[in-house]
């Protein structure tokens, strides 16, 4: 393959890694803002994964938080109750999320569920997941949650080191995304996003590629969820609830731009800034958040990347 064809992608990946690597320098050593930036990276990974699932194969998974939580709880409970090392239990968590995501996708493709139905089934799964965590008290401590500080590997303790470790994971997932999109699977994804029926007629195995997208996306979500569990030092069902994760990820992806490489990244930055702007408003913050969300959704319907493409006339991946 000629390298020129992917020049824009390489430049974008390089720019993203350089800019994000410089962010901690600009924060002047404030632990609060470093934590915020790290959380932003974790949400970027969620969004990159959700982009593969929803942006490319139109499967509206409203269980991003539940998949992340599943991986997180599997990993933490294994580490806590069976004293498995987190490095060994995180992969188990990731596999569990990937299997769940793959099964949802397979079942919904087989049953021919439309976008809305996939959304509802996965949303219902999120609710079931939250209730299971609450109910299986002896394993998960229910609503009280689990302190993960004692189990945490040093590399994921809050600080500069963990910022760069998580940035590494984000870059891996972006590079993986890029490679996936230039492969045969990427072509299939684009065809499915355009017109699923036509793709099927053209001989593309729609079931296989949809399940593939859901599985790798869910694995990435699981990775981010497990990292979050150790990084934040505390997990409970609420931090993986639809309001904390799914709505944020959906809005981020739409703001950034579906089906783009850069969209999840700039969407997350914008979302993090927005979140920080409305936080000091106290009782009014939900209201302002809602108003801003409506305005942004109406104004940037096709996402920031599409708008930038139009304004700068540059092919932004």
């Amino acid at each position: 393959m000629n390298t020129k064809r992917y020049l824009a992608e390489y430049v974008t990946l390089l720019l993203v890694v350089v800019v994000l690597a410089l962010v901690p320098l600009g924060l002047g050593g404030s632990a609060y803002y470093l934590r915020l930036a790290t959380m932003m990276l974790i949400y970027m990974i969620y969004t990159v994964a959700f982009n593969i699932i929803f942006g490319h194969t139109r499967q509206l998974f409203l269980c991003v938080g539940a998949l992340a939580g599943c991986s997180a709880y599997v990993s933490v409970v294994l580490a806590m109750r069976m004293s498995v090392s987190p490095w060994a239990s995180i992969p188990v968590g990731i596999v569990s999320a990937a299997v769940l995501g793959g099964v949802f996708s397979y079942v919904s493709v087989r049953r021919g569920l439309g976008v809305i139905f996939v959304g509802i089934v996965t949303l219902v799964f999120s609710m079931i997941f939250a209730n299971l965590i609450l109910g299986l008290r002896e394993w998960t401590n229910g609503e009280t949650g689990i302190e993960t500080r004692g189990l945490r590997p040093d590399a994921l303790a809050p600080g500069l080191a963990s910022y760069y470790v998580i940035l590494g994971v984000l870059m891996l997932s972006l590079v993986f995304y890029h490679l996936l999109m230039r492969s045969r699977a990427g072509t299939a994804f684009r065809a499915i996003a355009d017109d699923e029926f036509a793709a099927e007629l053209a001989g593309i195995d729609v079931t296989m590629y949809k399940v593939l997208a859901a599985t790798v996306g869910s694995a990435l979500i699981g990775a981010a969820g497990a990292i979050y569990a150790y990084y934040s030092g505390y997990i409970n069902p609420t931090v993986f609830g639809p309001v904390s994760v799914d709505i944020a990820v959906l809005v981020t992806l739409l703001l950034g731009g579906m089906g783009t490489l850069l969209g999840p990244v700039i969407g997350s930055v914008l979302f993090a800034v927005l979140d920080e702007v409305v936080r000091p408003l106290g009782g009014l913050n939900v209201l302002v958040y809602g108003v801003l969300m409506i305005i942004l959704v109406i104004a940037f319907r096709h996402g920031l990347v599409a708008m930038l493409r139009k304004v700068t006339k540059v092919r932004i991946p």
Binding site: R58, V107, R111, G112, L113, G114, V115, I116, F117, I120, V121, L123, V124, F125, M127, I128, N131, L132, L134, G135, V243, I247, L250, V251, L254, G283, L284, N285, V286, L287, V288, Y289, G290, V291, M293, I294, V297, I298, R301
Partner: protein
């Protein structure tokens, strides 16, 4: 046993009241309304404010339902216009996000302004006996209201010209437009009607126990599940799904613990969707 069945049916009717609005707006406007519960909260809280101001409860409830309708009118004529300009999947997504934003706005406003107000209506006689079974007056009232509302809705859709127009748009929007029907106007009528049904659902919640300003999301979730289990396009399906899930809920909470109940309820919803993806009455369309 029969008492549980009655209880579940009544609860289901209330759920169906909330959900039918989602079905109608989706069928007609192609927008999945995620602020349905918030419509109910607006109606209920307005009624509560009027009662606190010394108004007669019945008049207050009517005013509450009307204000939910006005709220629906404003939302349809302002916020939803950008969504209506798009078509197909894009309209669906945009509508989803706009109504989600709207639900945040209503939640935030209610929490900020009226966090200590709730609607709870108490009837003069708490319960009465029929053939040895004690029935709560509130349950009977909710059942009567819901059945009346649904009967009126069905009569409206079957017997009036406007109802025929509405059914024709649900079947085929382009075809209806070719016959000289203006879908935008009908859409407004439907959104107002749905908002009023939701307001009625809110009042029913107030009759049962109480309706607080923070309950919007919970009501939306249940309404959404009921609407989808019913097939999101069929009103009969919504009614049946509401009653089915209400009964499952009542039996499950009687026989097993509270946390398993919700899982059984949600599991029922998932299985219904998987077994009959187009809704309970799919074969008829």
């Amino acid at each position: 046993m029969i008492a549980i069945l009655i209880d579940g049916t009544v609860q289901g009717l209330q759920l169906a009241l909330m959900a039918v609005g989602i079905t109608l707006i989706f069928g007609l406007g192609g927008v999945l309304n995620l602020a349905q519960g918030q419509f109910a909260v607006v109606g209920g809280i307005v009624a509560a404010l009027c009662i606190n101001a010394g108004m007669h409860p019945v008049a207050a409830c009517v005013l509450g339902i009307l204000s939910a309708g006005v709220f629906g009118l404003v939302v349809d004529r302002t916020l939803l216009i950008p969504a209506y300009r798009c078509a197909g999947e894009e309209r669906l997504l945009l509508g989803l996000l706009i109504t989600l934003g709207l639900s945040f706005v209503v939640n935030g406003f209610m929490d900020y302004k009226y966090s200590d107000i709730s609607l709870s209506l108490r009837l003069a006689t708490p319960s009465f006996d029929v053939a040895g079974i004690s029935i709560r007056t509130a349950s009977a009232a909710v059942a009567a209201i819901a059945i009346l509302a649904f009967a009126l809705l069905f009569a409206f859709l079957k017997a009036t010209l406007l109802g025929k127009v509405i059914r024709s748009i649900i079947q085929n929007e382009v075809g209806a437009e070719l016959c000289g029907i203006n879908p935008a106007r009908i859409r407004t009528v439907i959104v107002v009607l749905s908002a009023m049904m939701a307001g009625l659902g809110g009042i029913a919640q107030g009759l049962f126990s109480s309706l607080g300003p923070e309950m919007g999301n919970g009501l939306t979730d249940y309404a959404l599940i009921v609407a989808v289990v019913g097939g999101v396009r069929s009103i009969n399906g919504t009614l049946a799904a509401g009653v089915l899930l209400g009964i499952v809920n009542a039996f499950a909470s009687y026989y097993v613990g509270a946390y398993l109940t919700l899982i059984i309820l949600l599991g029922t919803a998932v299985f219904t969707i998987l077994l009959r993806p187009a809704g309970l009455f799919a074969s008829r369309s």
